[in-house]
């Protein structure tokens, strides 16, 4: 089964490390994929809140393009960014459930010579790795088990809500199971789907910083060495504002924030460059990760 890959704009800007690590991991696991041709912006949360129908049309263009690129059967379209994932999924579900919306959107698409027939399944890469490829298979490919590394998985809100796809809406566990399969130790914490502030860090910064501080503090308190995310905006918020949070609230937070694909890559034996590690502001401390034979792995 070949996957189609929809990068979205974040993975080409602030989230480049996510794309680099995702593609490297897909390749090393021999998961076949190709990029969606001529994809466009998903519209993110902003467009949907201004004009839902226009936003659906914009997102649906990508779904129609996917059908054009894969003429037969069901198409699994990987959308790694949580906002893209949600918007595309929402579009897919709405077009499926509401014939009047489908008709309207298709009449718009028709003008661009496109049509959406309902063959696309929007998938999050976490779902693909854990439920399609399988944890047992991942464990088999692990070269450097991340023994002793305590990982707080942070899911954010958009991947699990409002649509319940592959995990629980309030207490997801897929990433924790993946962490376990990589040999690391998942940290159980109640804030795994609590809001990171989204775009508030850029608008009402006071509120944004407060929300991020709660997450960082609690992960730290539970002994996490690193926090994992599956969303470029969450990663950006949690990583880039730590200095400001420390100044404002008189804290000493120093928490590495990585994409889950980066941690997978480390365990699978990929190089720093392949995983976009140099793009992180905070490097996890090296002595946490040990080679099975006892030598340090210089991944980071």
């Amino acid at each position: 089964m070949k996957y189609l890959y929809y990068p979205g704009c974040s993975l080409r800007s602030t989230g480049r490390a996510y794309e680099e690590s995702l593609l490297s991991v897909l390749k090393v696991l021999d998961i076949p994929f190709e990029e969606l041709n001529d994809w466009n912006c998903c519209g993110a949360t902003s467009y949907v809140s201004i004009d839902e129908t226009d936003a659906f049309a914009l997102a649906a263009r990508n779904l129609a393009l996917a059908e054009l690129q894969s003429p037969d059967g069901t198409i699994n379209l990987i959308a790694p960014c949580s906002a893209c994932f949600l918007v595309l999924l929402k579009t897919e579900r709405y077009l499926e459930s509401y014939p009047d919306v489908r008709e309207k959107i298709n009449s718009t698409l028709d003008k661009a010579g496109l049509h959406y027939h309902g063959r696309v399944n929007v998938r999050h890469p976490l779902d693909v790795f854990v439920n399609d490829y399988g944890l047992e298979n991942i464990t088999k490919r692990v070269k450097y088990p991340l023994k002793g590394l305590k990982v707080a998985s942070y899911y954010g809100c958009q991947m699990v809500r409002p649509f319940k796809t592959f995990d629980h809406s309030h207490y997801p566990e897929t990433m924790d199971r993946l962490v376990n399969a990589l040999g690391a130790e998942p940290v159980d914490w109640p804030l795994k789907t609590r809001c990171c502030g989204g775009s508030l860090t850029g608008t009402i910064q006071e509120a944004g910083l407060r929300l991020n501080r709660l997450l960082l503090k609690e992960a730290e308190k539970r002994g996490a060495d690193i926090m994992l995310t599956c969303c470029p905006l969450c990663q950006h918020n949690l990583e880039c504002y730590q200095e400001r949070i420390n100044r404002k609230f008189d804290e000493k937070i120093d928490m590495p924030i990585a994409f889950f694909t980066q941690l997978m890559g480390v365990a699978l034996g990929l190089s720093e460059k392949e995983l976009g590690m140099q793009r992180l502001f905070k490097m996890p401390s090296l002595n946490q990760i040990t080679h099975p034979k006892g030598e340090m792995v210089n991944a980071w």
Partner: protein, 670 residues
């Protein structure tokens, strides 16, 4: 011609009912009556506001005499509601009631359509189908069957117990079948009952012992219904009696065997105390268990697992009541009526992971707290938490698995009141601060609101808002080591964080896990949420759509003890009506064999679910016993020669009806 039992010309009277606005606001009843008048065979066609009223019925009777009508059709509501009414009216008019046909244009037309034009056309089609059908109607005799006076009651909770005692006291013989080793159900697990605060055991156990000792009640615990055959008045039931490895007639419940078991301490989670204590492989569920007979659990007993136990229990029993060889036993009984009181299961709180049940030890379900505060419970009534502490603050979360579209949409009706009761008991036992988190307090019942007032006076806190989560996420020093309940207080519009030592989840009621299997076995229906469906939500609340089978208690829907008992009494009364009338009228919808067309192939013999068909070996033909035939139609469809016909559903009737629907002139009616 066969099938048309009436000699002479067919003269049809057609009546369409307005049903107030129910039908007439969507269906143009005048247009339908006008149209039907034009059809061949129709002598009278009229509309009337309420056909089921006395004047409506008299209209039919008058027309039968004045116009010599010999077929009557009423287009109105569902036959379930008024077929009997109109058949009786037709009979009073001097016509055999089976010359009547009903067309449902309310449930099938006006209530489900909004377009008047299309609805009127559909009503016309359905009415025309009936007009073509009645040409083939014939005069039939009503069947009567005798009602066996014995009653089967399934489920020995408070509803089953009450129904059994009511019937037994009325002199009827009752079989009470219970799946667990003891009767008592959930009520036996409760500590006190709202709003009077009398102790559940004190009011229940006398009734349990009456059941055990009543000469008219046969009590089979640790047993399940395995098979149900027959029909109203004549049910044949197989009951599977699971082996308890104890000879019931010999055991006196002295419990010496339990004491002498090779296990010095219990190792298995105790079902009755919901795993809050441990039991041995040989045990009695609770001190007042009825019958007071020991049971051995083969899953945990060493003798069953290895065959190498010292069997100290056998040595200890003076009466030689222990029998490791005991086998499952099947009992066959005949009863006339059945009452299902199979109860409910509490909602599984771990399905709402953000409330932390199963994750944080001090999060309890309400039923667990009933056991915790009970004097015969795992802690002797002392409120000790799983981590050994005594709680100083307790949060009770209402509507867990109720009023929630992610789990169960319905209100479980009892949780508000039992939460108030538990708040009172927790305060009484611990003097803790108690916080209730509620959506609405539903205290609709006699003296219930007063009980709520009393709790307010006892300084129990009430916070209106559905709880978002329970966690150990402390953000202040005062929250360290506590469970933090986060909820919006919707009355003042703030988000609260309430640190507590203990959380009680007021879990709702769900249908039993096997309610669908039980439904199929007894051939009754379930409503969408899975509770057993009553025949009518207002006017037949304990009847089902299967004659002779009644439901009571929480298997029909969530309810408290007074309502369960009231329903149980009602179900017993319904059974008594059938028993004391001695017989029941049945539809004459039996099948019959057209002898000259039967090839004697025996196909029908094997498939009849009621063993109503035998073979006349001399004539080599099948023969249907009308008294046993239930009119299911299986043999009619299966007969390879088409030799079996069924009254009320003759081929000519069905095909004419289809022709009528498709606007084809049926050759038979011309």
């Amino acid at each position: 011609m066969h099938g048309n039992g009436y000699n002479g010309t067919v003269r049809i009277g057609f009546y369409i009912c307005h049903c107030g606005h129910n039908i007439a606001s969507i269906v143009d009843v005048k247009a339908v009556a006008e149209y039907i008048k034009s059809l061949s065979g129709v002598v009278v066609s009229s509309e009337y506001k309420y056909m089921c009223s006395d004047p409506g019925q008299e209209l039919i009777q008058k027309d039968i005499k004045e116009h010599s009508l010999n077929r009557i059709i009423v287009a109105s509501c569902s036959p379930l509601l008024h077929e009997h009414t109109f058949r009786t009216a037709v009979e009073k008019g001097g016509l055999n009631p089976y010359y009547f046909q009903m067309v449902n244009i309310r449930e099938n037309v006006s209530w489900v359509h909004t377009d008047m034009k299309a609805a009127t056309e559909k009503a016309k089609d359905l009415a025309r189908a009936a007009v073509q059908r009645v040409f083939h109607h014939k005069s039939l005799e009503t069947k009567h069957v005798k009602i066996h006076p014995d009653v089967l009651i399934v489920g020995g909770g408070i509803a089953g117990i009450h129904a059994a005692l009511t019937l037994a006291n009325a002199g009827k013989k009752v079989y009470l079948v219970e799946r667990d080793p003891t009767i008592g159900g959930h009520m036996a697990m409760f500590d006190k009952t709202f709003p009077t605060l009398d102790c559940a055991a004190c009011i229940l156990t006398p009734k349990m012992s009456q059941v055990k000792n009543h000469p008219n009640i046969t009590l089979w615990t640790y047993s399940e219904v395995a098979k149900v055959d027959g029909y109203v008045g004549n049910y044949k039931i197989s009951v599977r009696r699971k082996p308890r490895y104890i000879i019931e007639g010999l055991c006196v419940g002295c419990m010496d065997c339990i004491e002498k078991c090779v296990y010095k301490e219990g190792k298995t989670p105790d079902e009755f105390n919901l795993g809050l204590s441990k039991r041995k492989p040989i045990y009695i569920p609770f001190p007042q268990a009825t019958p007071q007979i020991v049971v051995i659990d083969p899953e945990t007993c060493i003798e069953f697992k290895s065959g190498r136990c010292k069997k100290t229990c056998v040595e200890a029993c003076d009466r030689k009541a222990i029998d490791f060889q005991q086998k499952e036993e099947i009992k066959e009984i005949e009863v006339g009526t059945i009452i299902l009181t199979t109860g409910y299961q509490p909602f599984d709180a771990s399905r709402v992971p953000f409330y932390g049940y199963g994750k944080y030890p001090n999060v309890y379900t309400s039923l667990e707290v009933e056991r915790l505060v009970n004097a015969s419970g795992p802690t002797g009534g002392e409120l000790i938490l799983r981590d050994g502490r005594h709680p100083k603050t307790v949060g009770i979360i209402h509507c867990v698995g109720s009023r929630d579209k992610n789990t169960n949409r319905w209100c479980s009706r009892t949780c508000c009141m039992y939460s108030l009761k538990l708040a009172h008991l927790l305060k009484e036992h611990t003097d803790a601060e108690v916080y209730n988190f509620y959506i609405d307090i539903r205290a609709a019942g006699k003296s219930y609101e007063e009980f709520y007032d009393k709790l307010l006076d006892e300084n129990v806190h009430f916070i209106r808002g559905r709880v978002a989560e329970v966690s150990d996420w402390a953000v202040r020093p005062s929250e360290e080591g506590k469970l933090i309940i986060r909820a919006e207080d919707t009355l003042i519009g703030i988000v609260r964080r309430v640190p507590v030592d203990m959380v009680v989840l007021a879990v709702g009621m769900e249908p039993q896990a096997d309610s669908q299997d039980v439904r199929r076995m007894f051939n009754i229906s379930c409503s969408t949420e899975g509770f057993f469906l009553e025949r009518h939500p207002k006017l037949a609340p304990v009847d089902t759509f299967t004659d002779g089978i009644f439901i009571a208690g929480c298997c029909q829907g969530p309810k408290d003890i007074p309502d369960s008992v009231a329903q149980a009494g009602a179900a017993a009364a319904q059974a008594l009506i059938l028993i004391d009338s001695g017989e029941i009228e049945l539809e004459p919808n039996t099948a019959y064999v057209v002898q000259e067309e039967c090839s004697g192939c025996r196909t029908c013999l094997t498939i009849c679910p009621f063993t109503a068909i035998s073979r006349d070996e001399a004539k080599q033909k099948a023969f249907i016993n009308e008294a046993l035939c239930k009119g299911c139609g299986t043999c009619v469809a299966a007969c390879p020669s088409g030799a079996i016909k069924q009254n009320l559903f003759e081929d000519e009737m069905i095909f004419s009806e289809i022709d009528g629907l498709l606007k084809m002139e049926s050759p038979a009616c011309c």
